[in-house]
């Protein structure tokens, strides 16, 4: 995968358990946040996004929580499956098209059978 040279934080979970991946963002001015999943050798794949006027947003098996007070973002994956194994990145930016995203370091999620 893309982890050579950098020791990513790793989260190991049992199949079927819930996963929680955390992210601290840096820019208080950011008002748009995204979670991406990156499998080995592939590009970042959009999972879910949230705007700063929300605290929580749910998708299919995933929930994103935003705490603007402490600049913290989390991704919850329900009933984790082997196919969820990947590196997960949070990214911050501004609403509206054309704005750059600033990515976090990433967390390696490993799902054990």
């Amino acid at each position: 995968g893309e982890s050579v040279g950098l020791h990513l934080p790793t989260l190991s979970v049992q199949e079927g358990d819930n996963s929680i991946i955390n992210c601290a963002y840096s820019n208080s001015a950011s008002d748009y946040f995204i979670w991406y999943k990156q499998e080995s050798g592939k590009g970042p794949q959009f999972i879910i996004d949230i705007r700063s006027n929300m605290d929580k947003r749910q998708g299919q098996r995933v929930t994103v929580l935003l705490n603007k007070t402490v600049k913290h973002l989390s991704l919850q994956i329900a009933a984790t499956q082997p196919g969820d194994s990947a590196v997960y990145f949070c990214a911050e930016g501004a609403t509206g098209g054309g704005n750059k995203l600033t990515f976090g370091t990433g967390t390696q999620l490993k799902v054990e059978l």
Partner: protein
């Protein structure tokens, strides 16, 4: 489902050579981006492009880099004189608002 495509998937070049990385964004998207990811590191923004102009560029995007939308479908990144440190995965993305990424081009500069 529409997706961003990139070619080539892999490119090996000699230091000092020019390379052109190609992308076909999602057809109804208006904003285009290039990012790079050095092996084992996080994804870094290079440049954004809208209405045939660069909207924003990072410090990485120096005079060796250029972008172009030569026709209605392609979006290219050119590196004029590659350096060893340009070795990375290069990702194209496009958006209305949410950015969708292509599979990347792995560039290796020898």
């Amino acid at each position: 489902e529409p997706e961003v495509t990139q070619t080539p998937s892999h490119q090996v070049t000699q230091m000092g050579q020019e390379v052109i990385l190609r992308c076909v964004p999602i057809s109804n998207h208006l904003y285009f981006y290039w990012y790079r990811q050095i092996l084992g590191q996080k994804v870094e923004f290079l440049v954004s492009f809208y209405n045939n102009e660069i909207s924003e560029k990072s410090e990485i995007f120096d005079d060796q880099f250029s972008v172009e939308r030569p026709d209605g479908s392609n979006f290219t990144l050119k590196i004029r004189s590659t350096k060893l440190e340009d070795s990375a995965m290069y990702f194209c993305a496009s958006s209305q608002e949410t950015q969708y990424f292509g599979p990347g081009t792995r560039l290796l500069v020898l």
